[in-house]
């Protein structure tokens, strides 16, 4: 029987870890993800899991231990945030290339400096081109559900790609809300056993990891990773539908909230989309045809689905909780590129919000919609809630 609890995003993720009971967890604590590992350490200490829990001296070591354990064929999970994630940067592309599945609870926090513990997406966005799948969750329930689904996606032998399950630091990770947990048996059956390819422990079929590949084959190995990303796009929905069958909850790659007949749409990710959806409802009541497109899967980026969802709109605003200093913010760059490639020349405002945990108020969403409706469209970046 499923059970409901009032809990936080971090604890919900930790509960998923308990139910998944991974073979190996190697981790190093950092705010705001620390809670995940603290809670999980409790499960280890109380004999609730059989996991080999490896405490290491840095995030770099944590992710290295995860990669090697996964190469050995283990089911592996970990968690981190901010500069901890940044310290792992060197190892992320190795995990991607070695095709070592890992489910990673990434609790989004701004990367210092200035040092700041609150949410933005600069930590995960700095890792966006390294061969990991990125899922961005709106709430604690979704973080829990995504951890379970991510195991299947990551370990699928046509995908074999590590997955970041992102949730907003403090807002989701430490806010308490009702979460429905599946029973342990259902989770166990859903994730099944990992059937590793090329396990380091398979002595009858010996393999070496980490061999040299110069100009003759480096490119081909990257091409295989491109294929794995395509497979992830292809296979994701099947896994999401299977999960719906056991949980009653369905999470598409993109969450289209009243976008179908909308003229003006805000594109956004993670927790702030809740405020936007509320504003959509209020403005709909006043007769404005507005909608919210929440991007859940950022890597691989579902270009075609995004272009189809925005087709024919009068104007859209894309909200990034991250900068690309000197360039174009990551989400708006992807959205504009998807639109351009599909021949949709839709005016697009680029709005930066929420850096370093700056609040995002419903009023902001309304103002952004009103600019679209009033034709205030311009190519320069806009800064939402900045002191200016």
């Amino acid at each position: 029987m499923p059970r409901k609890e009032i809990t936080s995003g971090n604890w919900a993720f930790a509960e998923a870890m308990r139910q998944i009971d991974p073979d190996v967890v190697a981790a190093y604590p950092i705010t705001p993800s620390t809670d995940i590992i603290m809670k999980f350490a409790e499960f280890v200490a109380n004999g609730k899991v059989e996991t080999n829990f490896v405490t290491v001296e840095s995030e770099h070591s944590a992710i290295t231990a995860c990669v090697t354990a996964s190469a050995a064929g283990a089911r592996v999970m970990t968690a981190s945030s901010a500069n901890g994630v940044a310290l792992m940067h060197e190892i992320f592309p190795i995990a991607g290339c070695f095709r070592t599945p890992i489910v990673f609870g990434l609790v989004n926090r701004s990367v210092g400096a200035p040092i700041n513990i609150h949410c933005d997406h600069s930590d995960s966005m700095g890792q966006r081109d390294l061969g990991w799948i990125h899922l961005y969750c709106e709430d604690a329930q979704e973080a829990y559900d995504s951890a379970i689904m991510a195991v299947r996606l990551s370990e699928n032998n046509d995908v074999l790609t590590p997955v970041f399950v992102c949730q907003d630091g403090f807002i989701t990770s430490h806010g308490f809300e009702p979460v429905e947990y599946l029973d342990d048996e259902t989770v166990k059956n859903f994730v099944g056993e990992r059937e590793p390819l090329n396990s380091l422990l398979d002595v009858d079929n010996p393999v070496s990891y980490g061999s040299f590949a110069m100009s003759e084959y480096y490119f081909e190995i990257k091409r295989q990773q491109i294929e794995a990303n395509k497979k992830a796009l292809e296979l994701y929905d099947g896994i999401a539908k299977e999960y719906e069958a056991v949980s009653g909850r369905y999470y598409p790659m993109i969450d289209c909230y009243r976008t179908e007949d909308a003229d003006h749409v805000i594109v956004i990710m993670s927790s702030a989309s809740g405020a936007v959806k509320d504003v959509v409802d209020e403005m709909r009541d006043k007769g404005h045809k507005v909608g919210c497109l929440r991007i859940r899967m950022f890597r691989p980026f579902p270009k075609e689905a995004v272009a189809a969802a925005l087709k024919g709109k009068k104007a859209v605003a894309v909200l990034d909780r991250c900068l690309s200093l000197g360039g174009t913010a990551p989400l708006v760059a992807e959205v504009r590129s998807a639109l351009y490639a599909s021949g949709e020349m839709i005016p697009t405002n680029s709005c930066i919000y929420g850096l370093g945990g700056r609040d995002f108020f419903p009023q902001y969403a309304e103002d952004i919609f009103m600019d679209l409706i009033n034709g205030k469209i311009s190519p320069e970046e806009r800064y939402i809630g900045l002191l200016e």
Binding site: D158, L160, N198, V207, S208, Y209, S211, E220, R223, Q224
Partner: protein
């Protein structure tokens, strides 16, 4: 995705001609290190003196390349130059100075 999912399939393909043939993630199938003649890297060569050797096995334990050969009784019988990289650890650890490092040029 690589079409070859294990080393046995790989053997039949031979040198990859398309990206699908390359082992996934640049993995090397089979115990391929056994075929690599690391002895080619050697610039100095350990020369073992049977007379002095007491088969204490210190060199055997320390050799990073499994190059100290032994007989069925566990006695040291010499050095496998196919793998020996000439690092000199064996000579360094030998309590009897039974291994001498000499320039490869002496053997040219």
């Amino acid at each position: 995705m690589s079409d070859c999912k294990n080393w046995k399939e790989m053997k039949d393909v031979g040198k990859p001609k398309k990206w699908q043939d390359v082992p996934m993630g640049g993995i090397a199938y089979g115990a391929s290190a056994e075929n690599v003649e690391t002895g080619q890297w050697r610039s100095i060569r350990p020369v073992w003196n049977e007379e002095e050797c007491i088969s204490c096995m210190l060199c055997w334990v320390q050799c990073p390349d499994r190059s100290i050969t032994t007989d069925e009784n566990g006695k040291v019988t010499g050095i496998d130059y196919f793998y020996c990289k000439g690092c000199g650890i064996c000579a360094h650890v030998c309590p009897k100075k039974a291994i001498e490092m000499r320039p490869e040029a002496d053997f040219a």
